[in-house]
């Protein structure tokens, strides 16, 4: 096997290879790091590549391999972690000037889980500042690009993670999803991106954007990898009071299906007439057809409130929570800080210069809607609408096991295209946002390639803790459309 072939292997194939002695961890890591070094000049998918750390860990793991130690489920697998997830001793910037030099003194729960499973963190991924954005153009460290087409954005906010997996930096990556930040870039980069049910994965160590919506989830190029990494990171954690104490199923078991007999797949009534790209519409009907062929019953569901009011509901609640979560960045204890004559100046200037424009905009909106005289009309009303959205999904899931919807209304857009009008840019999250509001799990996956050679994604939404149902349906679809491909340098437009 040529070393460059390593870059195309899935996480589970790598683990198999190590076990069989086909190659060593340092072979794989070294190849990945070289690949990263070359491609980063274009892609800018990583804020902090961890060359030294990854190298020394690979030697350590090879030694463990030689000693015949029991290997973790992600042994020796290179992983990219979004830069809003803390890794002990590594800088965690959140894509912001505010945390440009902040070294976290502790690791997130998911990072501890990955390390226990033997994974090798090879870099911290680029992202929109504080996860606010849909293009990774709002990163203080420059935009990340789409490996399928360098003139286009990889989506966001977890654009760096999605691009890394698509570009073969690593078979798997972690992102975070508050309103679509995993699923939209996964769709744009043609990889799998799963946002788990709210509360399935501990948020301990995830730098909060909107606490009631944030959820960490995996990117991968195969469903088996999705299941494997989900199994690892969904380990219960008492440090997050919102993390469920429910027992986790064995996710890999849901993948051994060929038939969807007795399974109900729902689709959005009237999706054909929505303002979405034709190729996406086609992908939806093809995907529904695949499910039907496999024996699923196809039902129509209606989500009028979610479609019409999801965006304003989200753009009230998320900024409100963000304005609170980001209040701690005040230049006193850590992070960006100016020299000031008095305390108030320290606050105003540190925050005024440390945050970028999109973050400031959302903090202002959030502060506005939480103000004592606006609270009832804005924040409280949005929470009530959120309850209506939950009810609407509950009704839909009384008819279907899984819903198939677009992941995004458009194919990957050009760089700079959506920067000027925030309201327009927010539309990119139309189909992903209601899922966060209702706390549901959803997977974005590549359904086809467009005529122009860009990935076309669809979204599979499950009921609360229905990750298994999603995997089941997705596995049938994967058997037809094949796993995600890598966009290595040569394949690129």
């Amino acid at each position: 096997m040529k070393n460059s072939e390593f870059l195309k292997l899935s996480a589970l194939e790598l683990v198999e290879g190590y076990k069989k002695g086909d190659f060593t961890v340092s072979d794989v890591i070294e190849t990945a790091l070289e690949h990263i070094e070359v491609n980063e000049r274009n892609l800018n998918a990583l804020i902090t590549p961890l060359y030294e750390e990854a190298r020394s860990r690979s030697w350590m793991l090879d030694a463990a391999l030689a000693r015949g130690e029991e290997l973790g489920s992600l042994f020796g697998v290179p992983v990219v972690v979004k830069d809003n997830i803390t890794v002990d001793g590594v800088r965690t910037t959140c894509g912001s000037r505010m945390l440009e030099n902040w070294i976290s003194p502790y690791s997130a729960h998911v990072v501890e889980c990955l390390e226990r499973a033997g994974a090798v963190i090879i870099g911290k991924a680029n992202m929109d500042e504080f996860a606010m954005g849909s293009s990774t153009e709002f990163s203080a460290f420059g935009p990340a690009l789409n490996p399928w087409d360098l003139s286009r954005v990889p989506g966001g906010s977890s654009g760096g993670s999605a691009a890394s997996v698509a570009a073969g930096y690593a078979p798997i990556a972690l992102g975070s999803d508050t309103g679509g930040s995993i699923r939209q870039p996964a769709a744009f980069c043609g990889v799998y991106g799963l946002k788990p049910t709210y509360g399935l994965v501990s948020r301990f160590g995830l730098i909060a954007f909107a606490s009631s919506l944030d959820q960490i989830g995996p990117f991968a190029r195969s469903l088996k990898d999705v299941a494997a990494i989900l199994q690892v990171i969904s380990e219960p954690d008492a440090r997050d009071a919102t993390c469920t104490r429910k027992e986790r199923p064995n996710y890999a078991e849901f993948l051994n299906v060929t038939s969807l007999e007795g399974f109900k797949v729902g689709y959005l009534a009237g999706y054909e007439s929505l303002e979405i790209d034709d190729e996406i519409k086609r992908a939806i009907s093809q995907t529904i057809e695949i499910c039907k062929e496999a024996g699923a019953e196809i039902v129509e569901v209606d989500l009028p409130i979610s479609t019409r009011y999801g965006l304003p509901c989200y753009y009230t609640i998320a900024p409100a929570e963000a304005s609170s979560n980001l209040a701690r960045f005040d230049g006193v204890q850590y992070g960006f800080s100016v020299v000031a004559d008095d305390l108030k100046e320290l606050y105003l200037k540190s925050r005024g210069s440390g945050f970028g424009p999109e973050v400031k905009r959302r903090i202002l909106i959030g502060t506005f809607v939480l103000g004592s005289s606006r609270y009832d009309a804005y924040y409280l009303q949005a929470q009530k609408v959120r309850q209506l959205i939950i009810r609407e999904f509950n009704a839909a899931f009384s008819k279907a096991d899984v819903l198939i919807t677009p992941a995004t209304p458009t194919l990957p857009f050009k760089r700079g295209e959506k920067l000027t009008d925030p309201v327009k840019a927010y539309m990119a999250d139309l189909f992903t946002i209601p899922v966060n509001l209702a706390g549901l799990p959803a997977l974005s996956m590549r359904a086809s390639m467009s005529q122009s050679g860009l990935p076309v994604g669809v979204q599979l939404i499950g009921k609360k803790f229905g990750e298994g149902d999603i995997l089941k349906a997705a596995s049938v679809i994967e058997q037809v459309v094949g796993p995600a491909a890598t966009a290595l340098g040569g394949d690129r437009k």
């Binding site: 976290s104 502790y106 919102t242 006193v332 939480l370």
Partner: protein, 485 residues
């Protein structure tokens, strides 16, 4: 101007004596620790950290709520209260807002012998802030070029108790806080120490005009003792009356008590209320304290101070004053019960506890359980005093010896060279005769009628008592002296 009546409401913050902090596992034992050493990502508010609530803090707050007959809410919510200040690492405090842990209770105070009910509006849980040290003379904020921040206190559990404006005098306010402090100590939920800041009192005071109209309320802060609280409120009451008498209006504001000058000083006008942007903390699901837990905690409540006091009056026949002193501290009240149970007569036990024992406890700053004399030995000593086998004077010496050398009663008596028998009759008469002979000139003076105040007889009595090593009845000694002279 006595027609102006003060209207006072209190807001009291009590640090709960849990081992770890409210939302993290850092130690609460920060007094004297080096700055920023009792901290972790959670109480420092580092990015990515999340709070998890301390079970004991909930239990303690519920215990206190039940003792004040509050209604405990089974479902309550934690809110975030936002403001920027360096002692608040997340720039918000996790607190409770419109769904507090408990509401609608009361606590009774004794005002000049009359019981007076103060209603409790609410009781809730929150986290303490860090501490600022200001770089100016006396550690004041004013004039400081910079300030230093220590987060050791950040996240210590606080219970906030808010009263209705039912308090009608500064003295009553003091009495209330003193009751509340007694209660937290009885319940073991806090040390209630005002000087070290584990119990902090803010007061709202306004004056009611003759027509029943309420004036603007003024918030008074920075009272670090019960005495300071009473003084500050007295000062503020007088000040407000004076403002009124000049025909001026009282400004709604926050004023700081300055103990040195004995004045309250305006800190800034509260013309616009701060916008704290409260909203439910999405990191913390609703707190559920089920009925079973509440009933269980209710059952586990110790006998409350006023219950013990009333029992001491009815069962032991003590006066209200005696009972108040004996039940001020729970350890002392328990000792009282213990001694009586072990056969000590009530009167003697009450007298001894209120004098000798309390003196020793206070001098050594120890609790009754830490007293080196076992209760059964203490009871034995008191029984002998009661039976007249030891005079009070002798018993005090025995008590001191027992305390110092950790001896039992008999060994202490032996060590002091006392016999357990009582000196009386002819034995005592012999000593009296001897003493009178040795002090003939004093005897002469008495006989000459020069002892109008009886001091000289007392002098002779003292010598006889000393000779008998306190084992005689002082009354018998006195009558023997008088009969011999």
């Amino acid at each position: 101007m006595s027609e102006f009546i003060p209207v006072i409401g209190l807001e009291i913050h009590v640090q709960l004596s849990t081992k770890s902090k409210m939302f993290c596992s850092c130690s609460t034992d920060y007094i004297g620790a080096r700055p920023n050493s009792h901290v972790c990502p959670i109480c420092l508010g580092l990015p990515g950290s999340l709070p998890v609530i301390n079970e004991r803090a909930i239990m303690y707050a519920v215990r206190m709520a039940l003792a004040m007959r509050c209604k405990v809410n089974t479902h309550t919510v934690f809110h975030r209260k936002h403001y920027f200040y360096p002692d608040l690492p997340k720039a918000y405090q996790i607190s409770q807002y419109d769904l507090p842990l408990a509401v609608d209770g009361h606590l009774e105070v004794n005002d000049d012998g009359k019981a007076h009910k103060i209603r409790i509006q609410r009781l809730h849980l929150e986290e303490d802030a860090g501490k600022l040290v200001h770089a100016a003379i006396g550690g004041r904020l004013m004039g400081a070029d910079y300030s230093l921040v220590d987060y050791n206190r950040s996240g210590v559990p606080l219970m906030e108790i808010v009263t209705q404006p039912d308090i009608t005098s500064p003295k009553q306010a003091r009495e209330f806080v003193s009751r509340l402090r007694q209660l937290v100590r009885y319940l073991g939920v806090s040390d209630g120490d005002m000087e070290s800041g584990s119990l902090r009192v803010d007061a709202n005071i306004s004056i009611m005009e003759p027509g029943g109209k309420w004036g603007e309320k003024v918030e008074v802060k920075n009272m670090n003792s019960l005495k300071a609280l009473e003084r500050a409120l007295e000062y503020e009451y007088e000040r407000q009356k004076e403002v009124k008498s000049k025909g001026e209006t009282i400004v709604r504001e926050t004023r700081h008590w300055d103990d040195d000058s004995g004045k309250t000083i305006s800190s800034r006008s509260k013309e616009e209320a701060e916008d704290y942007r409260y909203f439910p903390d999405p990191d913390l699901p609703p707190l559920v304290v089920d009925e079973r837990t509440i009933v269980q905690l209710c059952k586990e409540l110790p006998e409350l101070p006023w219950e013990v006091r009333d029992r001491f009056i009815s069962d032991y026949g003590l006066s209200l004053e005696e009972a108040e002193v004996l039940t001020e501290r729970r350890d002392v009240a328990l000792l009282m019960d213990d001694l009586v149970k072990r056969g000590s007569p009530v009167k003697v036990a009450s007298n001894w506890i209120r004098t000798e024992i309390m003196r020793v406890l206070n001098e050594r700053a120890i609790s009754a359980e830490e007293l080196t004399i076992p209760p059964d030995e203490m009871a034995l000593l008191l029984s002998r005093v009661d039976r007249g086998e030891l005079s009070t004077t002798a018993a005090k010496e025995v008590f001191a010896m027992m305390l110092e050398k950790s001896l039992n009663v008999d060994d202490a008596i032996k060590a002091l060279g006392l016999s357990t028998g009582k000196l009386t009759g002819s034995d005592l008469e012999a000593i009296v005769v001897k003493v009178l002979a040795e002090n003939a000139e004093v005897v002469e003076e008495i006989r000459a009628g020069k002892d109008k105040k009886g001091k000289k007889v007392k002098f002779l009595q003292g010598i006889v008592m000393r000779e008998t090593k306190g084992q005689a009845d002082p009354k018998e000694v006195q009558s023997l002296i008088m009969s011999k002279i």
